[in-house]
């Protein structure tokens, strides 16, 4: 009888070790909108990650620290290495990573700032001669940032579709018809820059048009718009265990139903609703993925 106890103990330890090693874990990733201030991302998404930790702990899923990527490249690499299991981002960054590695699967649609989908509007000073996209030739347009969906990708895609060629402001170019572009860092700055004459036109989310100061808006007018795009996405790494992914999806879908969840979502990105992507949504994403593909090709006029 004597050897039985040590053997049982060894077996128990082995089973425990295997169980410990196989403990389910999940890690959310976000790209910092202000790379110069990492605390912004923590302030925004910290409550959301804490909420996930509590809810997923009930399902024996351990939630790791929030992964804060500085840019698309860092985030794409982290997903490929399996360090990030899900990404909350706009359509274009999400599609950009999907096109790059194919390791990401857009799954949930997040309503942000009250929008399920949105489009970009082109605007200029009210007294400007610009009446349409073609009038932008030889002029300067201000975008928000190279990562912005509504204030860069969408207008860029629309302009390219219209046959316009763009060049960064300040870059040498022999073609005076090229549209010069520059980044203002925020939608608000775009409006001020156009109003102050620093740029001839700007483009951003149609929701932002309503949020710029009235004193500035009254000096501006809209002269064009883009096709709509889904507002915000939650995508999962294709390497994530299905059980964990489904558990996380369930928690996200239930979040707006709980007061605590609503607070976390509001803090994260003013998210009010969450739903699964429909087939139409996926088709729309495929459309934009193709557009992105075309954007990735060099501007033949450069």
């Amino acid at each position: 009888m004597r050897p039985i106890l040590p053997i049982a103990l060894v077996l128990c330890c082995a089973v425990w070790s295997v169980a410990a090693c196989a403990e389910a874990s999940f890690r959310l990733g976000v790209i910092n909108e202000r790379p110069d201030r990492p605390s912004d991302a923590l302030k925004q998404y910290g409550p959301l990650n804490d909420y996930l930790s509590r809810r997923l702990a009930e399902r024996d899923i351990l939630v790791g620290d929030l992964f804060i990527g500085q840019d698309l490249d860092e985030m794409a690499a982290a997903i490929e290495r399996g360090e990030v299991d899900a990404l909350a981002e706009g359509v274009m960054p999400t599609l950009s990573i999907r096109r790059r590695s194919g390791t990401i699967l857009p799954t949930l649609l997040l309503w942000r700032k009250g929008q399920r989908q949105y489009h970009a509007v082109f605007f200029a000073r009210r007294d400007s001669a610009i009446q349409g996209l073609q009038d932008l030739r030889g002029r300067r347009i201000v975008f928000e940032s190279p990562r912005s969906t509504s204030a860069y990708f969408l207008p860029l895609a629309s302009m390219r579709a219209q046959g316009l060629h763009l060049t960064p402001s300040g870059a040498p170019s022999s073609d005076p018809a090229r549209v010069r572009y520059l980044f203002a860092g925020s939608e608000l700055n775009q409006a001020y820059w156009v109003q102050a004459g620093r740029a001839d036109a700007g483009a951003f989310n149609n929701g932002d048009w309503e949020r710029i100061p009235a004193s500035v808006r009254q000096e501006l007018r809209i002269f064009g718009r883009t096709r709509s795009v889904l507002r915000w996405l939650l995508s999962f790494s294709t390497g994530l265990d299905v059980r964990i992914r489904e558990a996380v999806i369930r928690v996200f879908l239930d979040m707006p139903e709980e007061a605590e969840g609503r607070v976390a979502l509001e803090a994260a990105a003013r998210i009010a609703r969450i739903e699964r992507l429909t087939d139409a949504d996926r088709a729309d994403l495929d459309y934009w993925s193709d557009v992105l593909g075309r954007l990735d090709r060099p501007d033949d006029a450069d």
Partner: protein, 466 residues
Amino acid sequence: MSPLRGISVRYTLFIASILLAAMGLVLLLAGYFVFEGTNSLRADLTESFSSVQIGHDIDALRASGAYLGDRLFDPLYALDVSALNEEIARIESWLSPDSVLILDADGGVVTDGTRENPEHGRRYPLPGDLSPGAPLVETVPSGRLVYFTIGYGEAIIGYARIALSNARNRVLLQAMHTRVAGAWQSFVRRFVSIAWISVLVTVVVSLLIGWRLSVSLSRPLRDMNRVVEQYAAGNLEHKLPERSHDELGRLARSLNQMASQQERARDQLMLLANYDNLTRLPNRHLFYDRLRLAIAKAKRGRCQVALFFLDLDRFKEINDALGHDVGDELLSGVAARLSAIVRDTDTLARMGGDEFTLIVEGILDDRPLHSIARKMIDAFGPPFAIAGRQLVVSVSIGIAIYPHDAERLETLIKHADTAMYAAKALGPGHFRFFTRELQEIAHRRLALAHVLRRAVDRHELDDRAS
């Protein structure tokens, strides 16, 4: 006697009361000055805080203005309104101003820090003497206005205008008042606690000091009282400690001297009462006492006591012939010789005249008694050299033994006396033990003497017979 009537208690209470009153007065005065001083300090503190705070605020604003002028340059130059709004938010959280305006070089509002920016474009007048690196602080009815330039070096690209209301100072002062009031309440509570503790400590210390002083005063008196009671009881051996050189010390020394004199006088009295003045031997009184004790001891120990009755032969003749001085000197010599023979535990006494007694205790048989008697008789062998004469004298000794011969003291003495007369009858220098026959002879002799005395009284005897 009631404890409160004791001198130590009275002194303790008296001294403690005086100390308590004195210390209480000091504490009261100290407390009053501390309390009043601290109370008046409250107003001074608040006023001082207010002036220091205002001065500090203005200095801080000037320094802040210089710093912010540099910091706001980049976002204003780039027309980064978002960044300017963030800076304004920081300033607001830092200084709690009424408003912060970033103005362009013409005084037009670039942003007021809000997303709505309703002031946008509105022009504000600027102080004429505003220069780079030298913020201006204007005092206005509603508070203060701080202006500073935004630029790089001497190049000015805009201005900042910060309006600070007095409300902030009022809030600070109110907070100061609240904190001072809280601190004051806390101080009062502590003060009262300290006052109570001080009172308790004062009472305890006063009682301790009073008790200590009282003890230092009353203890010698109590000691004296106890010793005097001992004196009154006849116990003069007790002596007072002579601790000090003050009045109490002198009194103690006087009492000790008095007790010593009394002791000496008592010893002298004892000597006179119990010892023979001539021979220094125990006298008849002490002899009776010693014999009584010896008999009592023998009775308890079931042993015997021998009583020797000694009478000098022919002493009366010597005394009559040579005078009392010679007789006395002879008696002293006899006493000295007998004292040299007897043991220290035996009692040699002079009964009076030329009669001596010796009490020998703890005897088992009469053999040693023979030896003692013989030694005493032999001691008279050498003549006594007195007054140039060699006087020869002998002694007759009668011996009676308790309880063999008598159990009562008087009877034992009488029997020893009877034995002594029987020894005398044998001639000088003999000793005899008492026997029943001697008693009968003595009785008969006594009866004959009685008859003869009565016959003489009745004149019944013939003259011829005499």
